[in-house]
Amino acid sequence: MTAAVRAELARWPASLKVGSASFALIVLTGLFAPWLTAYDPYTQDLANFLQPPSWQHPFGTDQVGRDVFTRVLYGIRIDLQIGFLTTYVPMSYGLLLGALAGYLGGWFDTVLMRLLDVAVAFPFLVLIIVIIAILGPGVHTIYIAVFILAWTMYARLARSEMLVERGKDYVLAARTLGYPTSRVIFRHAMPNVINSSIVFSMADFVLNILLVSGLSFLGLGVEAPLPEWGAMIAEGRDFIFDAWWIATLPGLAIVLTGVSLSLIGDGLAHRLGQRQRSFL
């Protein structure tokens, strides 16, 4: 068992090791946030507002005296949770629909392709904002909007991969053996279709964190007292000239998380033998 783990680790490229290690560290920091800081992310301390970074407040305090470090730590929970769900929920059914369309063809494929054509004709963010305009701002709307739209990218990817796999000998062999179609798709072809989506999902994860923080920055996403990184940057924006730390440091948290995920994606691309690097 440990030998197998060690053998697997030996095949990991450096980017995968560094990326996973720093991402694991970020996740753990988010989980253990209450033990890592003496402050509460919501409690205001008006006597200590706009304090620059110091031993007591390593990231300083904001305009109402909240500890920025604490809020950044708690922000891990929010941003990673939203980023994770907005990436992997749409991936699950996008992959399924795309693979089915690629394998089965016919009217199902035609309908799906027309839908995808329309979906890519819009800038993604514009459609999300339109849905927010319909349903009103907030985290729930973001989930709904992304769940409605984001699967299209995975469907497109899986469809084109499946079109390639479908013509390969091993699929033909499985078909000549009279296996049920579902078995051929899920047991035989799918494992080869899924890799490119896994690699893409790491870049998508980064983009989704940027999306959520961006929407919150615009005031259309996560709402005020919650320590979401984009929302914190928006709050710090008005004080950026006098108190640079409020807006700058949550941004660094985003960059660090994004870099970790991109490194994982880059390493996974190598490990899974994908030609494509982490981002499209």
Binding site: R114, L115, D117, V118, V120, A121, F122, P123, F124, L125, V126, L127, I129, V130, I132, A133, I134, L135, A203, V206, L207, L210, S213, G214, F217, L218, G219, L220, G230, I233, R237, I240, F241, W244, A247, T248, G251, I254, V255, L256, T257, G258, V259, L261, S262, L263, D266, R275, R277, S278, F279, L280
Partner: protein, 313 residues
Amino acid sequence: MAILEYIVGRILQMVPVLFGVSLVAFLCIHLVPGDPVQIMMHGRATPEVLATVRAELGLDQPLPEQYLRFIGGAIVGDLGKSIIQKAPVNEIIGERLGPSLFLLVYSAVLAVLFALPLAVVAALRAERLIDHSIRILGVVGFAMPPFWIGLLLMVLFGLVLNWFPISGYGDSFVEHLWHLFLPSVTIAVFLAPLLVQSLRSAMLDVMTADYIEVARAKGLSRRRIVVKHVLRNAAIPVVTVLAVNIGWLLGGAVIVEYVFAFPGLGSLLVRAVGFRDYPVIQGLTLVFAVIVMIINLLADLSYMAIDRRVLRR
């Protein structure tokens, strides 16, 4: 003529997509839970006013008729009237279309200027230290939120160093270049990593091609081979990557416009959503989609100009 046939075919392909796009734009007001007119008036209107607005927007008509009106209007450039500004939507959008397109082209040009040398160096020195450094640079650039970069650039170069204006559009071409520099750099930082990555890998692919060895055997200089033979072929996949990701680029531009209080379509959209100004939102949805479709069309046409093989079907 094969070229003409290709162009016409490609434009005809856009018709069904345009239909789908218009349907989405049209439906967005009808999907609002509850009464969209109520929401637009922020609950502060008398029943009479509500009825007038509803009639003005044609919301009292049957749906198919409303759609025909919407699409008929859109074709002749009539997108209705803004609830807030009380002006025709096409005029409001028209005013801001120019600046937005300027910003888009400017940032694309800057992104290419950043990306081209980096990608060439990375490809020519593949898997060496400089290549890895450029990749790390790209990974960091890709992970930086555009609004955050915009904010930092604004503070540093606008407020602290005072080199560039932090908002507005300016009156002449040169002023545009100057006013739009910071927002364009922001978008370019977001776009360049994508370009570097795709150009690098495309170049590496091309450099193993037989015709590159033939070019070397001809006695051409390295420089000539890279510029005349490699880059031209490598441009093909890059154009595709750019076109596929144009939606992301425009999305990034929306946020950056907002950060720099830039009088473009993106900041208009954010404001219209804030006011629930549905006619403006509908119009913008349509216009954004048309921009994406036109850019994709241009990408396909330039693809064809670079590589005539697409004409062979």
